[in-house]
Amino acid sequence: MSATKPVNQRAWWFVLPVLVSVAFSALVPLMTIVNYSVQDILGPDQAVFVGMEWYKEILRDPDLHGALYRQLIFTAAVLAIEIPLGITLALAIPERGWRASLTLVLLAMPLLIPWNVVGTIWQIFARGDIGLLGYVLTQLGVDYNYSQHPTDAWVTVLVMDVWHWTPLVALLSYAALRAIPEPFYQAARIDGASRWAVFRYIELPKMRGVLTIALLLRLMDSFMIYTEPFVLTGGGPGTATTFLSQYLTQKAVGQFDLGPAAAFSLVYFLIILLLCFVLYNFMKDPQ
């Protein structure tokens, strides 16, 4: 965009507060987890060094494979729906005026609800007897029951996530769209570009930076989804909605296996890191 920025290593001083504050709350817990992951915790003051033992066990665990598989499918579905839908909505939001304000406020509402409340709302909302969604579906003759049918449960969790998070993608995309100068649209009209070409060659490239962030946020957050399905389905029926976090919690809290749980956490962390890294580099400006 502009000329190259001057090189100034003292700029690190400006970044220092961020590094200290983030490192304090991130590195210390990370180190603790690394420490746990190579020990067998027998009691508050009793631990035995076991090396890579937990990692070997974790990587062979079929339940983990199942959870990881469900997680990947779920996250892929989340991204495949929320990103295009969010962009579509952003294109439909009025450009200015009270309609734009109203739409933005209404659209943002799901984002402002604490996550456990989101789960609770949907728990009732989707119930066949007393919930609006479940009731309407049942009246329409759909055999729908999210606490009994695994598919229904899975779809409900997905729809809930779409409801909860698509507005974030829409808000970010909308912001990027508003920042495109008018002459780009005017030039495209003069050039005889179709609506699709305007989207493909002007809007999409200008949204790339923002979409990268939206994709990364949705990728990592959906990969760590926990509170909402926990409240809604508790991971069931069976293991239909037991995603990685749910499984991890069962392992850490339910079975008091801190060592394996810590090893699992790190493997989990590395998977997210790898996915985000690949995506980040894929989306990054080629320059």
Partner: protein, 356 residues
């Protein structure tokens, strides 16, 4: 290519109240002409351009291309090209694809398209960059691409430029302007060039259209604008410094300044009650040391030596006027002196307008 007629064309922006962004006007742009639309920012020149291209629908009036009414047509149906102030390029495309874009949208076949794009690239000296991504180029390269997209369609009614050289380096600006002039001669396109820079307008165009406050105040060749400004605004805006206007009275069928009768090139009488002044360019105002016809008392207030010429500031009555002296090697008469207004070089202005 086409003749463009504007008939009783006017525009008000919504929320702008009763004020016209563009006052109703009627005029014709001839086929193949190179026009400059000159005026300060906010004078309505971009509005006029956008109405011609169809980006803005006018509040009233009609636009026609070669007699065909296009007022209701959108820009893509008007067969017109426009280049904007800031470079508009399609970032993800190559330079070639950028230039080809307007042609592809109109269904040109590959071979013809390639030939035409290469032609335009050659004119703009972009051949070496055709395979590069547009985003990796500098601002003036990008603006060249915008120019190229404007020029690539050979069948356009006109190419409209909206201050296209704002972001370009001064020396490149000069080159590109000359390039545009060449292109105009080569391709015989009708060009409309909006600018607020008089040098740019005067060097580029055959006809300069001067606008002020939503109104076209004069259309003419650069020479006409300089020699016979139809409006005080044109006098001020063209030339550096602008025209001198000396307040005068009307008595016994002639203009007088401080009781001295002044002959001008105006042959008609001014309307009664108008505020009168005599306009004379600094280039034509002469210094004199003795009284005579068309010679009025003046006093030297300041002298600025610019090497090849001297700028002399004169106090004529209560107004200040500039005189530009080319051959001022001789010492200036220091004490009381006179200023002479050559009759053929000055004109009478009633209110804002020149009296014919």
């Amino acid at each position: 290519m086409a003749r463009i007629d504007l008939q009783d064309l006017g525009h008000r922006y919504p929320g702008g109240g009763d004020s016209w962004a563009l006052r109703p006007m009627t005029m014709t742009w001839n086929d193949g002409g190179a026009y400059a639309l000159l005026g300060p920012s906010g004078c309505g020149k971009t509005t006029l351009l956008n109405i011609i291209s169809g980006l803005i629908a006018p509040t009233r009036g009609k636009v026609s291309f070669d007699g065909r009414d296009v007022t209701a047509l959108p820009p893509e149906a008007r067969n017109i090209a426009q280049v904007f102030q800031f470079p508009v390029v399609y970032d993800t495309m190559t330079v070639f694809d950028n230039l080809a874009f307007p042609l592809r949208n109109r269904g040109w076949d590959q071979a013809r398209l390639r030939q035409r794009v290469e032609e335009v690239a050659e004119i703009l000296e972009l051949q070496a960059d055709l395979g590069r991504r547009a985003r990796s180029l500098s601002a003036d390269q990008k603006q060249k691409i915008s120019l190229g997209r404007g020029l690539v369609r050979p069948d356009v009614a006109a190419v409209l430029f909206d201050e296209p050289l704002t972001v370009i380096d001064p020396h490149l600006k000069w080159l590109l302007r000359r390039k545009l002039k060449q292109i105009h001669q080569q391709l015989k396109l009708s060009l409309l060039y909006v600018t607020h820079d008089q040098t740019e307008a005067l060097t580029f165009a055959d006809h300069v259209v001067v606008m002020s406050q939503g109104e076209i105040v004069q259309i003419g060749t650069p020479e006409q604008l300089f020699e016979t400004p139809a409006h005080r605004f044109v006098g001020h805006f063209i030339g550096s410094p602008g025209m001198n206007f000396l307040a005068c009275e009307w008595s016994a069928g002639a203009a007088t300044i401080a009781g001295v009768r002044v002959e001008t090139s105006s042959s008609q009488s001014p309307p009664a009650g108008a505020a009168l002044s005599i306009g004379v360019r600094p280039e034509y105002l002469e210094l004199a040391s003795t009284a005579g016809p068309n010679t009025i008392p003046a006093r030297i207030a300041a002298v600025r030596d610019q090497g090849i010429q001297k700028m002399v500031q004169l106090e004529v009555g209560s107004t200040l006027a500039w005189a530009k002296l080319r051959n001022a090697t001789a010492a200036l008469p220091s004490d009381t002196t006179f200023a002479r207004l050559p009759p053929a070089r000055c004109a009478l202005y009633a209110d804002e307008r020149r009296v014919p």
